[in-house]
Amino acid sequence: MKTLVIISHPDILESGSQQFLLNAVPKEGVTVHHLETAYPDGKINVEKEHQLLETHDRIIFQFPFYWYSSPAFLKQWQDEVLVEGFAHGKAGGRLVGKEFGLIFMLGVHEREYQAGGRELFTISELTRPFQAVAHKTGMIYLRPLTVYQFAYMNDEEKMDLYIQYQQKLTNKNDSSLAAREDWMVEQINKLDTKDLEPEAADILKHAAELMTTNRTTIDELQVVMDQMW
């Protein structure tokens, strides 16, 4: 699977959260495309964007949440790139079946995005226009990865985010425990052990083996339970 991460941020070098996520981008299978860097004059090469979209299976929009939406340049990108004849309409449909997801950062606490909260509306409500784009273009809308108040996160929360981000870019569209196990075993097996002590590499390999054994145990227990009912 090839993933295209389309980032819109007017000042990406100064953004701690964006720099953190850029460092987490896996080496293989992911193309990062920062719009403001690619088009400093604001003139979008639509043909090039169409090629990028067509050669990837999962499209991610990554941005800071500005006034309940993306920065203006990402809206401009949508207006100019997702045109009739390419993204929709009788001669369009070139994005059908691809996956589409959002990764965005918010400065407000998660609890405020609900009825009774200061922001009143849920993230699902506020991101309706993006969901409608996915619907109209025939793409599969993924659960968003929302990063609340990055500046207040502790080290362990950042570690969780690091992994969740990589999974959002490279794991299949399945957040079950079994899918996360498969992804983790794969990561451990392809770990570059050169910058890891042999003992540490051995422990991680052993952990991966145990995850696979545990999965067999869980599946067998499930079969027995299914037979009992």
Partner: protein, 60 residues
């Protein structure tokens, strides 16, 4: 499960010794998954045990 307890201890030790953030994130995630698996196995075995010993099944 004893094997899970042992590896969780080893991963905890590794987590304290490591300095590289990428490795720390991976070790923590591996530890979290094994903890979740261990809990799930424990719950399923408990449920199975409870079902086998249920009075509803004594007539069978």
């Amino acid at each position: 499960m004893e094997k899970n307890e042992w590896i969780l201890g080893e991963l905890d030790r590794l987590f304290i010794e490591q300095k590289d953030f990428r490795h720390l994130a991976l070790i923590k995630a591996a530890r979290d998954i094994i903890k979740e698996q261990d809990k799930r196995i424990w719950q399923m075995e408990g449920e199975l045990d409870g079902t086998l010993w249920s009075p509803k099944r004594w007539d069978e």
